[in-house]
């Protein structure tokens, strides 16, 4: 939960802090969590291209996992994965 008081927030809820959306952890909205099977993954990076947020972590041109702080669990990566390496798992089970 946020803790700023009303008078500490910019008028009208305007955002005056450039790029502060990365501080807003939208990952808590998720009801399903993507998981990758790296044995199947070909590092084609379709998941990285299609992710509507910025939640596919890529290192050295290889897909290495998910940024769960912002992944909302939309499932697009799993749907698009040509190798069927990504599966959606229920959160909280």
């Amino acid at each position: 939960m946020a803790n700023e008081r009303s008078e500490e927030l910019p008028a009208g809820g305007m955002i005056t802090d450039v790029g502060n959306s990365k501080n807003y952890k939208t990952g808590e909205w998720r009801s399903q969590r993507p998981e990758v099977d790296k044995d199947k993954c070909t590092n084609c990076l379709f998941c990285w291209i299609y992710c509507p947020d910025n939640s596919i972590i890529v290192e050295d041109e290889k897909m290495v996992g998910f940024k769960y702080s912002h992944c909302k669990g939309c499932g697009i990566c799993a749907h698009q994965c040509p190798a069927k390496a990504i599966t959606m798992k229920e959160e909280g089970l």
Partner: protein, 387 residues
């Protein structure tokens, strides 16, 4: 002083806009507001203002354009009435919550149905909770004066809220009256230069307007509007005092007429207030201790000022030119909540009247006073309807 003119209420508002010279006006014509936008588009076409005038395809678009222009850093005005205001409904709340100080003139006209183009206050009463400041003018002079003062109120840094200036459709919008104007330079000096806060076009300080705010932030941002509204009464009093210096016309949030020693008082807004003063004078000649009250500022509601006037009265009637079916009028509720905790609060009754442009005759208002004095009115009454 500028020269006096014979002019109708709509044209008087267009003239005030001309002198204000807003950066952007986006509007859609609707009876009885039409003359405002027609007259102002003449000023634009004739090169008498620098305004970017945008003919929108609907009122929803007109208000959306106004919000965008205001966020971009422009001084903005628009106007509408009735169904046009209803079509703006979604954007009214957004204008207020984004704190865009837009000034909008309203030619009060009823909401259908049955379809009707004439005056009552149902359109702006419907916008009562949208977060806009609402000022009501009694006549053409007040239409002009309220318009100029509205820019100062809206743009005050403590306020930064949009303001509606309302006048009665046809009764004031189309009636020719004498208007004392101010010189252009006086208006320019009075309103001053527009100061934008975090304008979108200031690319050195990037700002996002209108972002999503979920349960963790929404309430705090809405509370800011309550705080801003809380500053409006004091700011409006300052603006009115300054306006008196340049115009010689001194206004108040709530104006009592012969109320000091009155036992019975009738409260109203808009053009009926003038008729009421005439009726008060006539009844005073016959020895009745009566007075009247005009509410100029309706949102925020000036409860303290009103309670100070109504304290100690024996009976009060509230005239509502709009009906909330299932209860009385909105003004009635506000008057009641303003006085319920003062000692010996007067008995207050409600009169719905003048719906859909029904004429309001002095004899009918005398009848209201007679019922208040006799104490025999119902809690909610319907003046002038054929039952």
């Amino acid at each position: 002083m500028g020269r006096p003119l014979a002019i109708n209420g709509d044209a008087a508002i267009a003239l005030a806009w001309k002198q204000v010279n807003p950066d952007v006006v986006a509007a859609y014509p609707i009876t009885p507001q039409t003359i405002m936008v027609e007259a102002f588009s003449d000023y634009v076409a004739d090169g008498q203002v620098d305004t970017e005038y945008i003919c929108a395809e609907s009122e929803h678009s007109a208000m959306s354009i106004c919000i965008g222009a205001s966020a971009a850093g422009a001084r903005v005005a628009t106007a509408t009435a009735s169904a046009g205001l209803a079509l703006m409904w979604e954007m009214l709340y957004i204008a207020a919550s984004m704190r865009t100080p837009i000034v909008m003139a309203i030619a009060n006209r009823t909401l259908s149905g049955p379809i009707n183009i004439h005056c009552d206050h149902s359109d702006t009463m419907g916008a009562r909770d949208s977060g806009w400041v609402q000022l009501y003018g009694e006549n053409v002079q007040e239409a002009y004066d309220n318009t100029i003062m509205a820019f100062r109120i809206a743009e005050n840094m403590k306020v930064r809220l949009p303001v509606m200036t309302c006048i009665d459709g046809f009764i004031i919008t189309h009636a020719l009256e004498r208007l004392e104007t101010l010189d252009d330079q006086v208006v320019e000096d009075f309103i001053g230069l527009y100061q934008a806060t975090r304008p979108l076009l200031d690319i050195g300080n990037p700002t996002t307007y209108g972002p999503i705010a979920l349960p963790d932030y929404f309430y705090e941002i809405k509370y800011q509007q309550a705080v801003a509204m809380g500053s409006v009464a004091a700011v409006t009093k300052e603006v009115m005092a300054d306006y008196a210096k340049v115009s010689g016309r001194r206004y108040k949030l709530v104006e009592g007429y012969r109320t000091e020693d009155a036992d019975h008082v009738v409260v109203a807004m808009g053009s009926t207030s003038g008729t009421l003063r005439h009726v008060v004078d006539r009844m005073r000649e016959r020895g009745s201790k009566v007075g009247s009250v005009k509410i100029r500022l309706f949102r925020p509601f000036p409860s303290e000022e009103l309670a100070a006037i109504l304290k100690g009265k024996k009976g009060v009637a509230v005239m509502d030119r709009a009906l909330s079916p299932g209860t009385g009028g909105a003004l009635y509720s506000d008057v009641l909540q303003s006085i319920h905790d003062i000692p010996d609060a007067p008995k207050v009754t409600n009169y719905i009247y003048g719906l859909g442009g029904r004429d309001v005759m002095p004899e009918q208002l005398e009848g209201v006073f007679e019922e208040v004095m006799a104490g025999n009115g119902e809690r909610i009454n319907f003046m002038g309807v054929r039952i």
